[in-house]
Every structure is written in structure tokens, then in C-alpha cells.
Symmetry: C2
Subunit: 435 residues, 2 copies
Amino acid sequence: MAASALRVGVAGLGVVGAGLVSLLRANAEMIAARAGRPVVITAVCARDPHRDRGVDLDGLRWYDDALALAADPAIDVVVELIGGAEGIARALVEAALARNRAVVTANKALIAVHGARLAAVAERGGVALAFEAAVAGGIPVIKALREGLAADRLLRIGGILNGTCNYILTTMRETGRDFDAVLAEAQALGYAEADPSTDIDGIDAAHKLAILAALAFGRPVDFDSVHVEGIRRIGAADIGFATELGYRIKLLGIARRTERGIEARVHPCLVPDRAPIAQVEGVFNAVVAEGEFVGRLMLEGRGAGAGPTATAVAADLIDIARGSLVPVWGASSGALARLTSVPMAEFRGDYYLRLTVRDRPGVIAEITAVLRDCGVSLKSMLQHGQARSAAPDEAVPIVLVTHETPERAMQAAVARIAGLDVVVGPPALIRIETG
Amino acid sequence: MAASALRVGVAGLGVVGAGLVSLLRANAEMIAARAGRPVVITAVCARDPHRDRGVDLDGLRWYDDALALAADPAIDVVVELIGGAEGIARALVEAALARNRAVVTANKALIAVHGARLAAVAERGGVALAFEAAVAGGIPVIKALREGLAADRLLRIGGILNGTCNYILTTMRETGRDFDAVLAEAQALGYAEADPSTDIDGIDAAHKLAILAALAFGRPVDFDSVHVEGIRRIGAADIGFATELGYRIKLLGIARRTERGIEARVHPCLVPDRAPIAQVEGVFNAVVAEGEFVGRLMLEGRGAGAGPTATAVAADLIDIARGSLVPVWGASSGALARLTSVPMAEFRGDYYLRLTVRDRPGVIAEITAVLRDCGVSLKSMLQHGQARSAAPDEAVPIVLVTHETPERAMQAAVARIAGLDVVVGPPALIRIETG
């Protein structure tokens, strides 16, 4: 194969960048055979040229300034591994696309927030803007949606999109410990960042869901329409009650095609413990897609880490080397559907509600009267008998499970219940999904 | 979009062919937007023009002869849905490729047996030979391996590749019924063919495994090197004992890269009941891939049926309409690796062995002596106490589980044990996999 090499410039040499250097070297011959030409990193950009990254960077052109890398005329593709929706990552990608240079990125925030506009620029320039690594790491879910399922009309897409949250929830269930303790441990193990808010508040999952929903439904990516709740408020008590009721708690991102438009939401869910998604534990991710013709698919694997993410970046590079050019969002920008987004207030579902109440006569009557007045129908109630010796007025937990209820009615009921004298502390409301 | 339509000729109008007609019509506008041009069936070929297939075929050119369809100059792609490694299906695909016409097929037997040669012809002609629908129906596993994981060196590929067998084994476990009864029911429900041997003897799964192994390891497809055993000999007793031991029985296809070459085998396996693959039940398929960098991935979904299979065929058509042309086996024929195949005799693993023996003193000593002499080390033994009233010499089952043992030693031991006077009927030997 005498074809000229694809020359790659990598901006950002953290764990994934170093992993990409290792992968492209270790499998250079195989990748050249598959791509039809060598895929070679020729330039890199990072802050500290002296840090030991565990890979040999000798012979590569080194840039301190990402914009200078984008301007290097001897590069065919820029790989952006800096991260963040704004700042230098955005400037780099814009600069590269403006020069009609292909871009591969693992940056979910950038693609979720600016992906529609960036795609239009890439389209005008006839170059690739690829982001397989931005969602679910090593699982080739972008390719599955944009190409593998391109013929089907998808009804639902989503799943477990954040490994940090899934690790925390799995460990809480396995150990019975509370959120804060498990988060601290996850930080010590490197599974959670020092500032964990992007992960545990659901933002990261929402970025990914916005990208998946755009591809699945063929509409412009719209991060702002995703409803987001994180896992900070999930207590050990909720994990315990969920187990008792035959559920596991997962942070899910779910986007659905409904009669009124696209519903997209990230929040903790109770899922039946026999559902396939409930079996996905620890740092693993899983994406579930449901289509009219194809039925239900689940793709499961490692959603983060140097190896899986580098594999996804390199797959995009091989596509570019092969000359494949699929529209960034599956169809040209002009051909995407303008689908309405359905606000969360219009959601309907089953709910789990945990309350801490004073153990005194009439409490249940008071609470169920509020639910009745708000039009919330109860499916079941869980209240453990207190020891005979329990002090009167002691705080005890009760758990209520509802039939299908409008979100609006449920929120109104919870607000009123939270204000009752007999209710101690904030109610915990978690939606129930079938899986 | 003013681009000219991709004109498709479909040979074979069974369930999948009719499904493809429905799918391309139902989603015509969306598919045109994604493919950049309309994808339109213009000609069909089937035996009986009068049979009601539930789809309107008016206005399509009708051929009785598949070779005439292949010669139609007003067709860009031939879709082969006839089936079988030889005969008219093979002749049609050869004729189409000889005319430099792209081919899409769902024919796993043809691709497993003749895929290397057909790919070379397609490659010379610069046309696509696509077969996403040949393996695992609606799961885009061919694309995942050939493109999504193209950068990684895979170590293991396989899974549950035959929905008929998985349905039978699942139903046996759920109902406690025996193989013949469940097979008859599966036939009545349409989950098994009138002649079920291709499915239940493991041939279908072996065709698919041969294809997966070729893509995963980048070597020419080699069906003859796949070791094949089916599920006819799995009894209700084995299902029961497996459950008792914490396992489920699955027909798995497994291909592994070992130090001595590629091992590829299809046979029933005991897998731990908590393993993800054990949770894949009924007609569902699942493919597990394990790579050096990407780790372990599992893709699960419907492996057969009109909708899923048509979705896969249509995805291939969209790729062709988009002008994507990836090498048939992931790299050009000349660049594929000549990897040795390891014969089954060199396999090593753990085994489950069920024997029916005369309930008399010394039986266990006799059997374990044979195992010792053959170098087979026992991990555990299961023997249920008989009722006091059991007649002396009554036939009773015992189950032995071994430590890792060479296949050769195990087969020698089983042959000798089968010849013992105290052993009644044929021993049941099932390999144990970790999942």
C-alpha cells in the first residue's frame, strides 16, 4: 500500500491523548492495512513538554498553542482532546474547520452545545467532524445510530451514560454506604473528579443524551431542551427500599419520540432488577435503542478510560483515512427535522416517593388525602413496623409508589406534602422506568 | 436533493424481502435524507408472482430468473435474500459481482463458505459486497467490528448467535420440559424450521462465528476450521443440574486469539447465571467482543425476523448510496493475516459431565479412578441421595465438574467411562465458560 499517510495533530495529551499515541503505535501495521494507508501522529499540543506521559513523543512537532497546531499545513486531521464547551477547545475546532481540516473530538460538551453550528461549517468545507469517543467511550454507538440503524425510525434512545454515577450507585447498593462516603472513595480511586459536579449532577450524561437524541431522531442537537437531575439526593435508604421493592437505582438518560414531540431527560430512575439495564454495573455504560423495525438493542461496554476512548478516536481516524464521509448528524443540516421538544412538566410516569414522618396517628391519612386531592393514585405503600419501644413521635420512613401520574400533579403533591407538620426533612422523589 | 436514486433489485421475497419492501417505503423520505439520494426497489425476483406477501408489488419489474435480475442494466445493487451456500443464491451473487454490480446479502452460509473468493471479485470490481444482515439480524455487529473497532486488536469474539437454540434452551429452563417437546412447540410457533437441523446442530451459529472471526482477527473467512456441536443432546436433567450449580446452558459461538492461533468453536456451554450473556434469553442474540484497548463490549438485540433483518439490509444500501466503500473483510484480501487455526483437540477448559449409573457400591470409585488415570482433576460432584425405597441397582444420575483439563484427556476419559458396566446410556459432556 503506497498511499500517503494520514497526518494527525493531537491537542491535549492527558490520559486519552497518551492512550491514542500508544494505540496508533502498537497497532500501526494493522491500522494501515485496514485504513488503506498509515495513520500517523505528526504533531502534538499540550502545556507541559516535560511531564512524563508514559509515551515517547520524540520526533513529533510540539506546539504550546492549540491554534498554531490548527494552522500547521502538514496536518490532515486535528484531534481535540482538551475538553469543555468553550475556551481553547472550541477555538481550536473552529479554527481547524475554518481551514477545511477534518476534526475528531472526544468533547461531548462542545458537540452537545455547539454541534449544530460546527456541523454546518464542516459540511460547507466538505470535511469530517467526528465524535465517536464523545458518547459511551469504546462502544461504537454513534456509528450504530448514524449508519447501522439509519434506515429505521427510532422511538427511544438512552441508557447509562455516565460511569462515575453508575459506579457510585452500584457501590452504594453493594455496601449499603451513603452517597458522600462512596463519592469520596470514587475520588480516591480516580473514578470521580476532584470537582465531581459535571458527572454527579447529570450534566455529562445530558451532553451525551443530547447527542444521541439528535442522531436517533434526525433533528438538530439541542442540549438546552434536556431536563437534568443528578444523584446527590439519593440516600442509602432509597437504595435499600428500591432493592426491597425489586428495583435498582440508575442514573438514566432517556429520549423518546412522543405524540407531542421529543422528550429528553436525565435523572435517577428505579428500574426492575431483572431488566437488562439493571444488570449493567460499576463503571460500565449501556445504550438502549428502540426502533419500529429493529426492535430493542442494547450496547454495553466501557464508557471511559484511555483504551476505550482512544479506540473510538482511532476508529474515526480510520474512517477519515478510508475517505468515508457521512453527514455529521446523519443527514445534511438542511434535511434535519424540526421536532418540538416536550417540557418535563408534560411528562407522565410512575413515581417512588420516600418521606420521613412523625410516627403518630393520622399521618398516613393526612398524606394520602393530599395525594388524592392532587389526583395521584397510589399503587403500593411500604412502612416497616416500628419496634414497640419506639418513642412516640419518632421519625420513621414511609415509601409510596404511584400509578401513572402527570409530573405536574406529582410535583404539586410533593410540594404540599413537604409542607405538612408531620413530614420531617425533604421528600425523595424518584421516577420509575420499565428499563 | 436532486441526486439520482439508488436502484435496487431484490431476489427472494420471503418474510425478509417483504419486510425490506415495507421498510424502504415506510421510511422513504428519511432514508433519502440520510443516504443523500432515494433508495428505491425497482425490480424483484421470486417464484410465485401471485402469492400474497402483504406488500404491494405493482410497478416493479418482475423476474422469475434470478440471473436475469442480475443482468438488468437498470439496477445498481442486487439484494440476495434466497439463502444457501450453493445453487441459485451463489450463482446470482457471482453473476452480479461479475458485472461490477454491488451486492447486499443476508446469506450467512454463502459468506461463511465462499466469502473470501467473492470478496476478491468485489474488490477487483471496486464494488460493495455487504452482509450486515447475515449475523445477528438487527444488531450492527459487522459495522462495529469492521469500522467501530477497526483500531483495536481483538482477543475474543462470539456469543449467542442463533435465536432458535436460545429460545429452546430458555424455554427448557423455564418449563422443565425436554428438548423434543420444546422443539415441537418452537416449530409450531415459527421459531424453528420444519427441518431444524441447520439451527439446532449449530451450523447456522458456526456460519456466523466464521464471519465474525474473520472480521475480528483480520484473516480470511474459514468455515471449515470451526468446531461445531449442537443442542440435541441437552436434556431436561442437564438444565436442572446447571441451574442447581449456578449456571445456565447456552449455545455459544466463541473465537479466541491464542498463542498457537485462532480457536473457533460452537457448542453448548454452562455459563455462570450472573454473567451478562446468561441474561440474554429467548430469541435474542448477543455478541461479545473483547479487545486489548477497548475491553469488553456486548451488543444485544433481535437476531432474526423481518424487521431487524430488513433494517440491516437497508443500512447496507444506505452505505452504498452514500458512496462508502470499506474493504469487505476490513482490509484488502492481500493484507489479511494468515493465522493458524487451532484444532479442538488442543482446547483446554472446565467440563460438566453427567452420567447415569447403577446405584451400587464402588461406582464412584470406579469412575474417579478412570478420571485420575486420564489426568482429569475433579472440582466438585453432585449426587442426590436416593429415597430409601430405591431399588438396588436403580439408574441414578451423577454430575461431575472438572478443573481445567485438556480436551483430548477429557474425551479419552469419557470414552472409557462410557464403556464401564455401571454406566447406563451415553454420558453428557458440556464445556464450562466464564461468560
